[in-house]
Homo-oligomer: 164 residues x 2
DNA sequence: CAGAACTTTCAGTAAATATTGAAAGATATT
DNA sequence: AATATCTTTCAATATTTACTGAAAGTTCTG
């Protein structure tokens, strides 16, 4: 499958966007490739399309599966695995938000808790900072959980309404 | 000024959080240091506290100023510059959101526009993807702009109401 | 169960990114 | 206007992160 110029550019852009958000370039490129492909692709095809090694392809496909962004797909009569990405953009956003919440927000809440316990109260300014940060993070977590559970459009509808 | 253990840990955690979001570790460490300091600090003091070189300190302080997270502060009788970070966590979040919108969301909208123009319509699936991505990005941009302009208490109140 | 088809791992290497420190550039001071 | 104080720049270097490819591992097939 030879991609159109537009698809290639899309893959490129998505890759660099990912990398500026702390997600490795290859991982987001594979994601873009699979999103823009209408059929599931094998590891070989991905390697070929992006000109990357087998090890790299394999590792990043696994990472995408881990993030819930890509699924294995068994193709009748084929022995090897095929992969496909979910195509609904709101669903993808929800998945990414949920994962980042789990990976980054939850640990931060934990750390703040620990710090508050350690902190000797000698610096009221710092104590206040920790408290506000805890409040902020807790609220943000709640927002993300709501988003995580909301159905496709409910959340953004509410949000837009809130701001209109 | 010798920081407490808790402050040191806070700086450390904030730094690694930043780096997992594509912001360089030193930049977020300096930010954490300044947030947790009740007085403005000079470049020298920052270098000393974080054990970093002058060049590194200077570059990252400039970046923080660029992001609107840190401000110069002239101290009477002192020739050198002092720096201080805003302390209001909602304000900080707003600033970061606004900057990332400007740096990443706006360019993406531009690219999608270009791609839609280039795309030859031969692949309806890809066309649909681009359209949905455009819709999504536009909505997200609108939400962030609202957040950007809203005043602190208003936003917080509305947000809490959404979840009650 | 031997061999083929495919997947995973990981030590070595390459590439990207961040940091240093010394020199050049400013700006103030006498 | 020479000197001192402070800031910025940037080529060299160090560190971190990502990638490769071959070998080991796994699963399927006849």
């Amino acid at each position: 499958m030879q991609s159109s110029e537009a698809k290639k550019e899309f893959i490129q852009v998505w890759g660099s966007l990912g990398s500026s958000w702390g997600i490795n370039r290859t991982m987001s490129s594979i994601h873009a490739l699979l999103m823009s492909s209408s059929k599931a692709m094998s590891t070989e095809e991905i390697m070929e399309a992006l000109q990357i090694s087998r090890g790299n392809a394999n590792m990043n496909i696994r990472a995408l599966i881990d993030w819930g962004l890509v699924k294995k797909r068994f193709v009748p009569g084929e022995r090897k695995e095929f992969f496909e990405a979910g195509k609904d953009i709101w669903e993808i956003a929800r998945q990414i938000a949920a994962e980042r919440k789990k990976r980054e927000l939850t640990p931060v809440l934990q750390v703040i808790d620990d710090l508050k316990a350690k902190e000797d109260q000698s610096d009221p300014h710092f104590t206040k900072l920790l408290n506000e940060m805890q409040e902020f993070t807790t609220t943000l977590t709640a927002v993300m959980e709501k988003f995580e559970r909301s159905d496709r459009n409910w959340f953004f509808k509410r949000l837009m309404k809130l701001f209109s």
